[in-house]
């Protein structure tokens, strides 16, 4: 087996669980429904198979995650990925960071933003727009009990409206959720 990866990387990763995934051929009807398994879609990741141990929660979480990251209007898709990245850097979810850094690059065609975050982490020096989103994300993730009003006003200064700010809050918060599953229930390995 390949070695586990403990440093941030943009290389393609596999996630290997510490907890036994549900076996598809032994899954209950409720688990299959939560997994959205259909005859034409039988490819399910280990991560989702681990979560299927608690199918009732998984069934609500999947559509919630999708709406937060992909809904129409409001904050740009790339902006939401910055929220996801900020949370994943604070929480050190190496797998989540890699997936969403690569998705940001794919969407925005601006690898230099991701390169700077990977080089300097939470001290990244970014263009104004990305900086405001990243700093608010890091701040909310690290201490939701004491979020800087300064960081919040910075979002208004760069021109975000209330809906965009609400979208950013959710993209950060859903990674407060995802990081706590992905980083604690398994670990990334370099793809063979």
């Amino acid at each position: 087996m390949s070695e586990a990866v403990h440093e941030f990387t943009l290389e393609p990763l596999d996630w290997q669980p510490y907890v036994r995934p549900v076996k598809l051929d032994e899954a209950t009807t409720e688990q299959l429904e939560a997994l959205k398994v259909t005859p034409s879609n039988t490819k399910v990741s280990n991560y989702v198979l681990v979560l299927a141990n608690e199918a009732e929660m998984l069934a609500e979480r999947t559509p919630l995650f999708n709406d937060i990251m992909y809904s129409e209007g409001g904050l740009s898709r790339g902006g939401r990925e910055i929220g996801a990245l900020a949370a994943s850097f604070v929480n050190r979810c190496i797998y989540c960071a890699s997936v969403h850094a690569n998705r940001y690059i794919q969407l925005e065609k601006r690898p230099e933003v991701v390169d700077e975050i990977y080089r300097r982490g939470l001290d990244a020096d970014l263009p104004d727009f990305e900086q405001a989103l990243f700093n608010f994300g890091a701040d909310l993730t690290a201490h939701p009990d004491n979020v800087g009003v300064y960081q919040f006003y910075h979002l208004r200064e760069i021109g975000l409206d209330d809906l965009e700010i609400l979208d950013l809050i959710h993209s950060i918060a859903i990674f407060g959720w995802a990081n706590r599953l992905m980083h604690t229930l398994g670990e990334p390995h370099l793809k063979a």
Partner: protein, 167 residues
């Protein structure tokens, strides 16, 4: 029942009624608002609670909200715990300052709750092995992880929406 799990919890704890602009703003994201609420219901009133009773779930959530000093959510979960039948043991679990002694299974669960809430970055494989070692099974571990993850999501949403409400 005084605390309905059908009323939107985040609106309720932040006092957002239909006259509030932030209430109207949240309605513009009706779908995610809906699934945030149904996720809460799946976490706190699941059809099959397994080895985590409804009261235990409320106590753990009160503890996590307390760890983050999220006063609104802490009050909500304490009330939910009362409603579900609190005991001195559950009260101790709900208090973030208390580490109950003499019960290794419970102590290991609470150590995990505290770590993954406040410092998820420090969690390792050893933490999951410790949960197996005190008798939790696969489902118990995923249930616990799901509860921790959901409450932390909710703490972040409440903190963020509160900034929108107040600024």
């Amino acid at each position: 029942m005084t605390v309905s799990t059908k009323v939107d919890v985040i609106d309720a704890v932040l006092g957002l009624d239909s006259s509030s602009p932030v209430h109207a703003l949240r309605e513009r994201r009706a779908k995610l608002k809906h699934f945030t609420q149904t996720s809460y219901e799946a976490a706190f009133t699941p059809s099959d609670p397994g080895n985590f009773s409804f009261a235990m779930r409320a106590a753990l959530a009160a503890r996590m909200a307390g760890l983050w000093r999220s006063a609104e959510l802490q009050a909500h979960y304490k009330e939910l715990l009362e409603e579900r039948g609190s005991t001195p043991g559950l009260q101790a679990i709900a208090d973030p300052g208390v580490v109950p002694e003499g019960d290794e299974r419970l102590a290991t669960i609470l150590a995990h709750v505290d770590l993954v809430t406040l410092k998820p970055r420090e969690a390792t494989r050893a933490n999951i092995e410790a949960l197996y070692a005190v008798g939790l099974d696969d489902r118990d571990i995923v249930t616990l992880a799901g509860l921790i993850a959901f409450v932390n999501y909710q703490v972040l949403v409440v903190a963020g929406v509160k900034m929108l409400r107040d600024n």
